[in-house]
Symmetry: C2
């Protein structure tokens, strides 16, 4: 697959943007992180744009890491990478798994400088920057770190929290209702919002609802519309103690159906992790949303708000055991998108929460 | 006050944009509409930009209308307006009040063409276009009509509905709560959102809350912060049957305080209209919001949404007697603004409602 891209860049920052766009071409549902790498020729004396010697991205577990792919790309062109700058979206690994350590590969190739966006928090793969520095390579961390973190958010949660990344989807009226007094809820949001939600489903490994929503709405939890051209449909997960009827829409493809007989979000995530789920979208209803929020097991929220008022009806989130405003469940607004007549507000954990030391650390994400 | 602006424009559309910006310089709380006018020289044979002969806007009841001001501006420059195009944001009036009819003034001046944004729906002033056409003037209606309607929304409601224009302000969490379980509500929204709300107060004639909100929050309902440099503070209105304590903050300036002892929104608006109120912001709580919504007496909604979830607590809107989703209270999204960490969604009546024939028509807005 030829990569049509510029041959020169003016700045290392431009190279990082290129590396980020390369990274995004890797598979989103893979156990390994999406990583991109660009190799730049040493700066010329005249200050002209630097030549790109090689490009690479990681195509998934069992294939070369991005750095190895970029080095191979440069070698295929007969380029000399000695003295080059490697611009990578994630800290080069110091761990030899199915492939050799990237730090060693860059050292052997004679690279003089490494710039990366995000530090590797995976304990058995981290340490690449240290090894490179110890061998005299200039190392710079944190260039476009926010974009790198955003791209790697699922994987970072997998390796630091040892659980799937959790997106909570809320789709409500402006006064926070998810159904009218008689229970009618189809559809509160517009075609544009629902189509966007299907795109989000197509990026996830599993879609989860509670038995209440399953019984009330009989959802199929499939990816439909243009987004359905995905490699695989996500798992369809119903959580709760009540039975799921034999003719439930969610059972349409039995091999994609999972019933988790628990009320405990942590237990549910543990079981999903064992099934290889790296990203689950929790789609309701209010009881399930509240359970994940109370457990602190929500990483991001997609709140779709329709320009509708209902007054009566069920609220989007059941009790959070919050008595006073000072104890409110607070989020950081990452972006706001008009979607047809609706509005999507994308929320992430507040910075202090995101930068807190992770409670656990595991070995996911180093399969390659 | 000299008006520093371009001397030529390429298009009639550019002249209308100029007229709209002139109109906005007029007083927002006046009984008369904000109107702007630009007089363009006849098109030149070579197609070069057209010269601006005069500009004017209406400075409030008792002063010249925008068309008269523009004609005076042109005369002061010694310009010949015969054959000119008058570009006006509102249809020239056909009614001689304190000033002569604008249609007649334009005819007498020898203007050859009139382009306006919004038709005058005031029955005793409308008919200007007809009179101009009957005298051989080319007339075009509807250029930048949406912008014109937006600028004139308060006045249009005043003259067609014979009542103040009503903005409903909702400030809630993402799950639609306006207070936590213990009643705490200060502050759900951020400084940026509250500062924006004070700017909105500064543009209104009155701020209205129910006795419940008055008792729970003891609000002052004043304009504070940078927006407080307004010509006059708005009226502070409490609606409901219960008494308002003698030491209530809302009584700080007795001459600005009004207690409306009614539960009926139409009766409240009638009393406010009698006091000269043209624009009232209804700021809560849930019972008052629901009462105005049920009565169909809300013209626009400013929904400030904080990135917070509460689960429990009072919802922003009390019962609307809506049983099923198909009967939901639906609005059109006009704009979405991030405000600090919060989001402001501005809603207006759905197009079919806005274009419905007005139920009543009155004589407000023609004082000049």
């Amino acid at each position: 697959m030829p990569i049509q891209q510029p041959n020169r860049v003016d700045t290392v920052d431009a190279a990082m943007q290129l590396a980020l766009s390369l990274a995004a071409r890797g598979p989103a549902r893979d156990p390994n992180p999406q990583v991109g790498c660009v190799l730049l020729a040493p700066p010329a004396a005249g200050g002209e744009p630097r030549r790109i010697l090689g490009r690479g991205f990681h195509r998934g577990a069992g294939t070369p890491h991005a750095e190895a792919a970029a080095l191979a790309d440069a070698r295929a062109d007969g380029a000399d990478v000695r003295g080059a700058t490697a611009v990578v979206t994630l800290e080069p690994c110091a761990h030899s798994g199915r492939t050799p350590s990237c730090a060693d590969a860059l050292l052997e190739a004679g690279v003089a400088e490494v710039v990366y966006a995000v530090a590797d928090r995976n304990p058995i793969a981290s340490g690449g920057a240290e090894r490179l520095r110890a061998s005299g390579v200039r190392v710079r961390e944190g260039l476009r770190a926010a974009e790198g973190e955003s791209l790697l958010r699922v994987w970072l949660t997998n390796v630091t929290e040892r659980r799937p990344f959790v997106t909570l989807k809320l789709a409500s009226t402006l006064d926070g209702k998810v159904a009218a007094a008689d229970g009618s809820s189809q559809w509160i949001t517009s075609d544009a919002a629902r189509s966007h939600a299907h795109q989000r489903r197509a990026e996830a490994c599993a879609i989860l609802v509670g038995t209440g929503t399953q019984r009330a709405d009989n959802p199929s939890l499939s990816v439909r519309g243009p987004a359905s051209k995905v490699a695989a449909q996500p798992l369809r997960v119903v959580m709760g103690l009540r039975d799921v009827a034999a003719d439930a829409a969610v059972r349409a493809q039995p091999e994609l159906f999972v019933h988790l007989r628990t009320h405990n979000p942590a237990a549910a995530l543990e079981e999903l992790r064992a099934r290889g789920v790296r990203h689950v979208i929790v789609e309701g209803g209010p009881t399930i949303a509240a359970a994940f929020l109370r457990a602190g097991l929500v990483d991001e929220i997609d709140a779709y708000l329709a320009p509708i008022l209902l007054g009566d009806g069920a609220s989007s989130v059941a009790s959070l055991d919050i008595g006073s405003l000072r104890d409110a469940n607070r989020w950081a607004t990452e972006s706001v998108h008009p979607l047809g007549v609706d509005t999507l507000i994308h929320l992430v954990r507040e910075p202090q929460a995101a930068s807190a030391p992770s409670r656990t650390a595991g070995i996911e994400g180093v399969a390659a």
